[in-house]
C-alpha cells in the first residue's frame, strides 16, 4: 500500500529550494529592469501646492518622473473600495498618486523611474514639493471629537457606524444581579513580513501582453484590478506570485498604488520596471492594524453566567478604507469566543485618522475581541471570587449545542454559526497542560523566593475558511507525474506540501511525483486569495474534490484497458491494478496516454494512443460525448459558510518587583483546527502566531506623535521579538472535525496570535493584583501603573 500522507509530519517539499538560496522572491527577478522610488509625503495632512522636478532632471540614469497629472484613463480614478458594505456610508480610497491632498505620512506623490534604485532615490531627494499644512487627526480620541476632519466631506471622521444585536442586551444587563463596565484598548501593530511588497512588470509589445510579478496574497484579483485600471483586456494580463517572504494580511490588500503604477509605467516605457518596497516605506505606506478603544457593559448572575453584554467600540481605520469594514466586523462577531453572552449588542464606529491605512493583520480584529471578552470573564471571576476557569466553563457553548447559531452576520455576509468544537474538553486539556490547579502552590514557593508570578488564560473561536470559493486543477502527465494548481497564493505556509499530501492520498501516487503551483494566473484563473486561515479548508477541499474526479476518470480508462470493472480497481503507488491481482496493472502515465486519442506518435509510449494501435469501437467517437481528452480535471469548493476553529492559551509570567520587567515563564496552547493534514506545519503556524501575539502584547506598537509622524519606523525602534523574547511553546491538540468540508479541516494560520494579549494581560494582572486594561504593555508602563496604584 502507498503510505498514507494525510496526518503525517511530512517534510516540506518547498524547503530544499528555499534552503539552498534558490528561492525566487520578487527582488530576485528582473535584474535588468528599471527601478522605481517614490516621493512620499513627509506630512500627515497637507494640500499639495506644487511639485517642482526641475532640479532633478539632469540626474544621469533618470528615465521618468510621474505625478498625478501624468496619469491617464482609469488610473486617474481613486483605487477600488474592495469590500463595500451598506454601513460603510463614507468609504474613501486614495489615488495611485496623490491628487491634491495627502492624508498620511508616506502617501505617494511622485513616481521616479531610473536605471537603478540608488539613482531613483537620488532623484527623489531633488524633487521639491510645496505643501500647505492641514491639521493632523491622530488617535481615536482626536478623531472621535471631530474637531478637525481627515476628509472634508466626511462629517465627524466617521466612515461607518454599525450595530448588531441579539436579544435585548440593555434590559438583560439591567435585570442581572451584577453589573460592571470596562474600558479597554489595544494599540496598533502591523503584519511586518520580512519581505516587503514588490512589483515587477514586463510589457511585451509583440504579444501585446503584460506579465506582472507581485508579492501578493491574491494574484487573480490583482490581475482583474490591473486589467481594469490599465484598460487592458483581462486575457492580456497575467499575474504571477513568486516566492513571498511572508504576508500575515498586509499583502491581501490590492491593488496597492504600486501595483497599478509599475505596470502602467512598464507599458508606457516599453521596458521592464520594478519596485521593491524598502523597510521604511513598508512602515509608512503599507498597512497597520489593531488600534481600537472599547467600552463594555455587562450583567451576570451570582454563578457568573453572563446575562447580557453590550460593547461599543471605536476602530481607527487610518486615512482610507480600501478593505471596508472587515476588521471591526470580525471584532464585533468573534468577540463572543466560545461563550454564550445572553443578550448581546455591539456597536462600532470606524474612524478616519491621518495615519497609515488599517487592514487585516493575522488575527484581523480577533485579538481585540478576545481581549475584551476575556477581560469580561476575568472581571466576573474577580468580582465573585470564582476561579477564572470555572467562570469560563459556566459560560461555554456546550458540544451538544453544535451547530450553534449566534444570530449574527459574520464577515463573509453569512450567518455566524459554529459548526464544531468541544470547549470544555479543550479547557480541561489546557488546565492539565499548564498545571492550573497546582499554580497556587507554585505561586507560594515563588513568593518565598521573593519572586512575583501570575497565570492567565484566554479562549477564542476563529471563523476560518471563508468563501466564496477556491478551485483546483490537476493533470496526470504521460510520464505519470501529477501537476496540481490552485489559484490562491502562498507566503510560507507550506501549501505545496499540504496539497501534495492530499493529492498523494486521493490518487495513490507518491509525493515526489506531484508538483503544486499556487498563485499563478497562467495556471489557474479563478481564485479569491490567501487570508482568513482558508487555504487548507478551501483549496485543500477543492484539490481533494478535483483529485477524486481525475481518479474516477483514470479508473474508467484503466478499466477499459485492463478489461476489468471500475469497482475492482485500486491505485497503488502510481499504478492502477485489479484489487488482489497486482499482476494486472497499468501505470497512471499509460492511462494518461490512453486518455488522449492521438494521430501522431511522438514516442513509444504515445504509440498506444494512436489510431491504428488497437481495435476501437467504431460506433463511438474517439473522444466520447461528455468527455474530454487528457487525464485532468478542475473542481471547486464553495462552502455554505465558514468553519470555526478554536483554541485556548495559558501563560505564566514573572514580573520583576523592582524593574517591572515581564518575563514569560510558560506558554501553553491547546488548539483545535479539526483534522490535521500535517501536524508539523500546524505547530509551526501556532508557534509563529504565538510569537506575534507576544510581540503584540509586550513589544510592538506604532508610535505616532500628535503631528502624525511615525516615531519608530525602523526595526531599531519597532520592537519585533527576537528569539530571546519568545518563550518556548507547549502545544496540545484536540481534533473536532468540521462537518462542513470533505476533509474535516478547519483553518490554523491565524490562531496562534489571537489570545496573546488577553492571556498575557490576565497573567500580569494576576501577578500584580491590579487590572490591565490596555495592551501592549511595556515595563515602563507597568512601572507607571504600579506607581498609580500605589498612590491610591
Amino acid at each position: 500500500m502507498t503510505t498514507k500522507m494525510f496526518g503525517q509530519r511530512v517534510p516540506r517539499v518547498e524547503d530544499p529550494r528555499l534552503l539552498s538560496g534558490q528561492g525566487r522572491y520578487l527582488d530576485d527577478l528582473g535584474h535588468d529592469a528599471l527601478e522605481v522610488a517614490f516621493v512620499r509625503s513627509p506630512h500627515a495632512h497637507a494640500r499639495i501646492v506644487d511639485v517642482d522636478v526641475s532640479a532633478a532632471l539632469d540626474v544621469e540614469g533618470l528615465v521618468a518622473i510621474y505625478t498625478y497629472d501624468d496619469l491617464d484613463g482609469r488610473t486617474t480614478e481613486p483605487l477600488p473600495l474592495l469590500i463595500p458594505h451598506p454601513a460603510l456610508t463614507h468609504g474613501r480610497t486614495p489615488y495611485a498618486l496623490a491628487k491634491d491632498e495627502v492624508n498620511h505620512v508616506g502617501e505617494a506623490i511622485a513616481m521616479v523611474v531610473a536605471s537603478d534604485r540608488y539613482v531613483a532615490e537620488d532623484v527623489v531627494g531633488l524633487i521639491q514639493v510645496e505643501y500647505e499644512l492641514l491639521p493632523a487627526v491622530v488617535g481615536i480620541e482626536r478623531s472621535r471629537d471631530g474637531g478637525d476632519l481627515v476628509h472634508a466631506d466626511v462629517p465627524g471622521n466617521v466612515a461607518a457606524t454599525m450595530v448588531q444585536e441579539v436579544g435585548d442586551a440593555a434590559t438583560m444587563i439591567a435585570a442581572a444581579g451584577h453589573r460592571a463596565t470596562l474600558s479597554l484598548s489595544i494599540e496598533r501593530s502591523a503584519s511586518m513580513p520580512m519581505e516587503g511588497k514588490g512589483v515587477l512588470a514586463r510589457w511585451d509589445p509583440d504579444d501585446e501582453s503584460l506579465l506582472m510579478h507581485t508579492s501578493t496574497q491574491t494574484s487573480t484579483s490583482v490581475r482583474q484590478a490591473v486589467a481594469a485600471k490599465l484598460s487592458l483586456p483581462v486575457d492580456r494580463v497575467e499575474v504571477v506570485t513568486p516566492d513571498v517572504g511572508g504576508g500575515f494580511g498586509v499583502k491581501i490588500v490590492h491593488p496597492w498604488p504600486e501595483e497599478i503604477l509599475v505596470p502602467w509605467a512598464a507599458l508606457r516605457l516599453g521596458q521592464p520596471v520594478k519596485w521593491v518596497e524598502d523597510r521604511r516605506e513598508h512602515f509608512v505606506s503599507s498597512a497597520h492594524e489593531r488600534g481600537q478603544l472599547h467600552e463594555v457593559e455587562f450583567g451576570y448572575d451570582d454563578d457568573g453566567h453572563l446575562r447580557g453584554l453590550s460593547v461599543r467600540f471605536w476602530h481607527d481605520n487610518g486615512a482610507y478604507t480600501p478593505y471596508g469594514l472587515i476588521v471591526p466586523i470580525i471584532t464585533s462577531t468573534q468577540l463572543l469566543g466560545p461563550y454564550k453572552p445572553g443578550a448581546y449588542r455591539v456597536e462600532f464606529q470606524s474612524l478616519y485618522t491621518n495615519t497609515v491605512i488599517v487592514t487585516p493583520y493575522r488575527g484581523a480584529g480577533r485579538p481585540q475581541g478576545c481581549f475584551v471578552m476575556e477581560r469580561v470573564m476575568d472581571a466576573i471571576a474577580a468580582d465573585l471570587g470564582l476561579d477564572r476557569t470555572v467562570v469560563r466553563e459556566r459560560n461555554f457553548i456546550q458540544p451538544e449545542e453544535m451547530p450553534f447559531d449566534h444570530g449574527l452576520i459574520f464577515q463573509d455576509g453569512r450567518p455566524l454559526i459554529y459548526d464544531s468544537g468541544d470547549f470544555p474538553a479543550s479547557l480541561a486539556k489546557l488546565k492539565a497542560l499548564v498545571g492550573w490547579d497546582d499554580f497556587e502552590s507554585y505561586r507560594s514557593a515563588a513568593r518565598a523566593e521573593g519572586r512575583q508570578v501570575g497565570i492567565g488564560v484566554a479562549c477564542y473561536v476563529e471563523g476560518t475558511g471563508v468563501g466564496p470559493y477556491e478551485g483546483g486543477h490537476l493533470r496526470i502527465e504521460t510520464d505519470g507525474s501529477v501537476v496540481v494548481s490552485t489559484g490562491l497564493t502562498t507566503q510560507g505556509q507550506g501549501h505545496q506540501t499540504m496539497l501534495a499530501q492530499i493529492v498523494a492520498d486521493e490518487l495513490g501516487v507518491s509525493m515526489d511525483r506531484i508538483r503544486v503551483t499556487t498563485g499563478d494566473t497562467r495556471r489557474f484563473k479563478y481564485a479569491v486569495g490567501t487570508f482568513a486561515s482558508r487555504t487548507a479548508v478551501m483549496s485543500g477541499s477543492a484539490v481533494a474534490l478535483t483529485a477524486r474526479k481525475v481518479r474516477a476518470k483514470a479508473l474508467r480508462i484503466a478499466a477499459n484497458a485492463l478489461e476489468a470493472s471500475v469497482d475492482d480497481l485500486e491505485i497503488v503507488d502510481g499504478h492502477v491494478q485489479v484489487k488482489g491481482s497486482p499482476g494486472s496493472q497499468i501505470d497512471l502515465g499509460a492511462v494518461a496516454v490512453l486518455s488522449n486519442p492521438l494521430r501522431y506518435a511522438f514516442d513509444a509510449g504515445a504509440t498506444r494512443a494512436t489510431q491504428f494501435a488497437a481495435p476501437a469501437d467504431p460506433s463511438v467517437p474517439p473522444v466520447p460525448e461528455n468527455d474530454q481528452p487528457g487525464l485532468e480535471g478542475t473542481d471547486y469548493y464553495s462552502p455554505l459558510r465558514s468553519t470555526f476553529a478554536n483554541g485556548m492559551h495559558a501563560v505564566v509570567v514573572e514580573t520583576d518587583p523592582e524593574t517591572a520587567e515581564i518575563k514569560i515563564l510558560r506558554y501553553c496552547v491547546v488548539h483545535d483546527c479539526g483534522t490535521v493534514i500535517n501536524p508539523m506545519i500546524v505547530e509551526g503556524q501556532v508557534h509563529g502566531g504565538v510569537a506575534q501575539g507576544v510581540g503584540g502584547a509586550l513589544y510592538e506598537r506604532m508610535e505616532y506623535d500628535a503631528a502624525g509622524q511615525l516615531l519608530n519606523a525602523s526595526y531599531m525602534d519597532f520592537l519585533m521579538p527576537y528569539a530571546s523574547e519568545v518563550p518556548h511553546i507547549e502545544i496540545d491538540h484536540l481534533e473536532t472535525p468540521s462537518p462542513l468540508n470533505p476533509l474535516g479541516v478547519k483553518g490554523a494560520g491565524e490562531a496562534g496570535v489571537i489570545p496573546g494579549s488577553a492571556a498575557i494581560a490576565a497573567a500580569i494582572e494576576d501577578a500584580e493584583g491590579f487590572a490591565i486594561a490596555a495592551m501592549p504593555i511595556s515595563p515602563s508602563e507597568l512601572f507607571e501603573l504600579r506607581r498609580r496604584h500605589a498612590g491610591r
Binding site: 517534510p11 539552498s20 513571498v244 509551526g684 519568545v726 518556548h728
Partner: protein, 172 residues
Amino acid sequence: MTTASDPASAEALHDVTLTVNGVFQQLRVPARRLLSDALRHDLRLTGTHVGCEHGVCGACTVLIEGRPTRSCLVFAVSADGASITTVEGCLEPDGTLGDVQQAFQDCHALQCGFCTPGFITTITAYLEDHPNPTEDEAREAIGGNLCRCTGYQNIVAAVVRAAEIRRERTAT
C-alpha cells in the same frame, strides 16, 4: 585599486575582487554599492536577502572571512579582497543540503524562507566554535536574527540538530 568612470554616470566606479563561495569574482561598482546589492544584483547570488537595510533583521548575513556580518552594513568596495560565504556556499560539495540546511528541513525551521539564509550562515559559523550547543546556547546564537514566521522554536531545535548532523557527517 583602479577607478574608472562610467560614461553614463558621473559616479566613479571601483574594481573590486571578492572570493565568493570559493569562486574568484571581479566587479566594477560605485563606492556606495552595498555588499548585499553587489552579491544579489551584480553576482546574481540572490540567496542573500535584504529585510531592513539598516542592520537589524539579519536576513542579509553572510560570512566574511568566516565571520557572520551584515552585508547591508558593508560597502562592497570596502570588502575588496575578502573571502565571502553566502547561503549558496553552505551546500555540501556535491550540491546536497549542508548540515544546517538539512537540520532546518528536518525541524521545520523555516516557513516563508526569507530570513532563512541569514540564519543558515550565522549558525554555520557558530557551530565551528560551538560544536555541541545546549538549547539555551542555541537560542542565544540566533539572537541577532529576526524571523516573523516561525516563533524561533524550531530554529532553536535546528541548531541543536545541525550540530548532531555535523558530528555524524564528520564521523563517517
